[in-house]
Symmetry: C2
Subunit: 154 residues, 2 copies
């Protein structure tokens, strides 16, 4: 019993199916050493990566994004807390954006920030020539992705 984890250990403790772990390895998200009999053995630090992957997946980030992020972690040594912090910071604006979009949808659905509709017909938030004009209380831009691309006369 050394300190390496088996497939079963990692699967159970990370909550990812074995097939997913093999898949993640194939696409370069995690790695493992092998026994003489070709079975995978994982370093404990893989669990942290997997927790990160789980969280990031849950909020809708792609494996490609996640791989890119994980690629910024140092090779050769177990990432430190600073490493993970730096990584998270690089996502902060992205997460902030996504949060803003969700809140805008939630609030927009409920009130369209003032006009109580999704009609957008006379709503300044969707009027291309008059976006956020006045900027009164609660006048907030809808994130671009939530706006109607043309926006006229919905």
């Amino acid at each position: 019993m050394n300190d390496l984890l088996t497939m079963g250990d990692v699967s159970h403790r990370s909550g990812h199916a074995p097939s997913a772990l093999r898949y993640y390895e194939r696409v370069g998200l995690i790695e493992a050493t092998r026994t003489s009999g070709n079975q995978r053995r994982y370093h404990r630090s893989v669990l942290r990566r997997l927790a990160f992957i789980r969280a990031a997946r849950h909020v809708g980030l792609s494996l490609e994004d996640i791989r890119d992020a994980l690629a910024t972690l140092p090779a050769g040594r177990t990432p430190t807390r600073q490493d993970w912090t730096r990584l998270s910071r690089s996502w902060r604006s992205r997460l902030d954006e996504q949060i803003a979009a969700l809140m805008a949808l939630r609030d927009g659905l409920d009130s369209c920030i003032g006009c109580g509709c999704l009609s957008l017909q006379r709503c300044r938030l969707s009027n291309p020539g008059d976006r956020a004009a006045g900027a009164g209380p609660g006048a907030v831009y809808l994130p671009r992705l939530l706006r109607d691309p043309v926006g006229e006369e919905l």
Copy 2:
């Protein structure tokens, strides 16, 4: 020139590709009448539905969810503002949850709400026997989906 919209109109003004509009029709998200020559003609209200679909898709809701929601709109008449408001309310808790998850990830990645790591090793938020113990400033539950399923010794 009546008040019905062609495929091209709707595609252009909604920002959805024609193929997507046909697909949405096939799966019951939108509908259209047909000309004598079998071409689609859309009512203006479809644009509102499509704006809703776009927004909901953007925040990660499935077409199935969206269809279920849209199915609560009245048949036979153009939905009123109250109809859309009611619909949005039914999603509010769901959106709130997703917002909370994102904020937890953002904050958790940056600070793990106090311990500055993703290690979760001694973090009370991930310690099954001691969740949010103390409940000091900023002590918040990580949403279940963001927590490690086992949580020990990451």
